[in-house]
């Protein structure tokens, strides 16, 4: 039985040190290229930086997971192969993959390298998950954000791997790894480029007393003076359909499951993941510290609500698909 883990994001070496110090059991990182799903300017690690970060984390008993969770390009899979080779050489504690071709490569070439299945693989049922376990020896699956607590419990009873769920941060309303909304509008997608609604395509425009946020020239939201201005993530904008204007897909809210941690532990979840490798050190420090406390309390079956509205996108929180009413 695995011990319960708090898995925290580290977009930079400095953020990694903050997360490790604030109480993470494990941190997850990516290389500075298109091989991971947070391929943002100024983020991520070179192999040298990762080697140092691993030393820092291991000296403090914290694990380091490497996300190589985009899909390798046809005709040029070299950056992805190199990332896996480096992961083995640098002795990361696990590598987080989504692409079947890469899972096949890693499982055959590095049988001792621990494999986690990325949420980008969208494995949403026991049969799919056990397929990855049997075929590639996957040891943990990051569950898609489309499942309710009772579904998660059922899945955990039927799989031969640990499960990790998202606990806090940005939340996709779509099945991850199966969404090309971003590339439909901007030409860049999570699967191929490691970005969604990229900053390079974002503009803001003054509209009287309000502000319009745009992506590739299309308005994703309009904010009145009193409203908190949010980033124009495509699926969290206001649109018009059926004669109504509103948040058709999802509101600009953040996932926060602090209130249901004990239920999820009871459902057999083995790791809680905080989203946000693109976030500041201050944010990482606060969220990790708060969740450390919440997870420790939840282990003793105590529930505490962490109010982090000031850290949430748009100031709101949701438990998303974990509760059926969301669907």
């Amino acid at each position: 039985m695995e011990t319960l883990e708090l898995v925290c994001p580290a977009g930079t070496p400095a953020a990694l040190r903050v997360a490790v110090t604030a109480g993470a059991d494990a941190v997850y990182v990516g290389f500075r290229d298109e091989t991971n799903a947070r391929n943002f300017p100024g983020l991520n690690f070179s192999p040298e930086e990762l080697a140092e970060a691993i030393d820092f984390a291991h000296e403090r008993g914290v694990k380091v997971y490497l996300a190589v969770n985009t899909y390798a390009k046809a005709g040029n899979n070299e950056p992805w192969i190199k990332a896996i080779d480096n992961a083995d050489r640098l002795k990361v504690d696990a590598i987080i993959l989504a692409d079947i071709g890469l899972l096949d490569y890693a499982a055959n070439k590095y049988p001792d390298l621990r494999l986690h299945l990325s949420v980008q693989a969208s494995a949403s049922n026991p049969t799919s998950i056990n397929f990855y376990v049997r075929e590639f020896g996957v040891r943990r699956v990051v569950l898609p954000r489309v499942l309710s607590v009772s579904e998660i419990k059922e899945i955990n009873g039927q799989i031969d791997a640990g499960s990790e769920v998202f606990a806090f941060g940005g939340m996709c309303p779509m099945a991850e790894g199966r969404c090309s909304l971003s590339s439909y509008l901007t030409g860049q997608s999570p699967n191929m480029n490691g970005v969604c609604s990229p900053a390079s395509h974002v503009t803001y425009e003054q509209l009287g007393t309000g502000l319009a946020s745009k992506l590739a020239g299309l308005t994703i939201n309009n904010f009145e003076e009193h409203e908190q201005v949010g980033y124009p993530t495509l699926c969290k904008g206001r649109f018009m359909a059926n004669g109504k204007t509103g948040y058709l897909f999802e509101e600009p809210t953040s996932l926060n499951i602090s209130t249901i941690l004990p239920e999820l532990i009871d459902a057999g979840v083995t790791a809680f993941k905080i989203e946000g490798r693109q976030r500041s050190k201050a944010y990482i420090g606060q969220v990790v510290k708060s969740f450390r406390l919440a997870v420790d309390k939840a282990k003793e079956n105590e529930k505490i609500e962490i109010n982090m509205d000031h850290l949430s996108e748009g100031g709101g929180n949701t438990t998303g698909a974990f509760k059926k009413s969301w669907m």
């Binding site: 390798a72 899979n77 079947i100 049922n125 799919s128 990855y132 489309v146 059926k324 669907m327």
Partner: protein, 300 residues
Amino acid sequence: MNSTQAKLSLGPLLFNWDVDKIRDFYFKIADEAPVDHVYVGEVVCSKRGYGNDYIPDVIERLERAGKKVIISGLALIMDDKDKRFMESHNAMSPDYMIEANDLSAINFLRGKDHAIGPFVNIYNEATLRYFEKGGAKRVSLNHELPCSSLKALADAATAELEVQVFGRLPLAISARCYHARAHNLNKGGCQYVCDRDADGLTVDTLDGVPFLVINGLQTMSYTYCNLMKELPEMLGMGINNFRLSPHDVDMVKVTQLYRDCLDGKIESDEASQSLEDEVFAAEFSNGFYHGEPGMEQVEL
């Protein structure tokens, strides 16, 4: 262009039409449409799939007309209801080829001849090879792939590769039903409101630009993909199967135009113009193929 090898297929109907309308649609396709393969089955939502007893009739009619029928499976499998629905599809193997749209279906089909649909992520040669080794004989590729990827995959493929060349693109799928949400309902009590929009419910941006359509759990492109002019290049790569996704338009005419184009009876410019003049005035796009934003129409 003249390629007798080139085959047209009619993709699975993605919308929630009335059963009688579906039956009539497929009967007409059977009798009149020059397509070689027809994919049948509910891909989007298992709630729609129950009670749809039209499938045996439709299959029989299509086969009598010489079409090869492939059964398309569900794209997102979350609960027992979805699983049972998927198993009802799988039970039709080996009598029919099954198109898996989720890894759990592939798990069942490994070792048997099967098809893989566009909802399974195959972005590179290694992944393609893995599935081919497991028995995949037909692979319908993800709409997001640019022509450079299509070419690299075609160079490596032993399976028949297929590319969607007509119709709205299935951009995303969710556990949440957006059709229900747009009607202030939730998925549990959806009242099947997705049946009100035969080609999807249009979503406009706040600027009033038609941008997407919603189709139950699915979010699709507002534009209709049209790769008529790209057909010769794909044939040159060795891609010989072209998928037309059904819409509430004269699909017989649409399939005829693509067939004539493949057979060199008319030029692609002329066929494209006929599509707009004689079938419907839609906004077309080919951006993904050219490595541009998917909604764009790159002029050739």
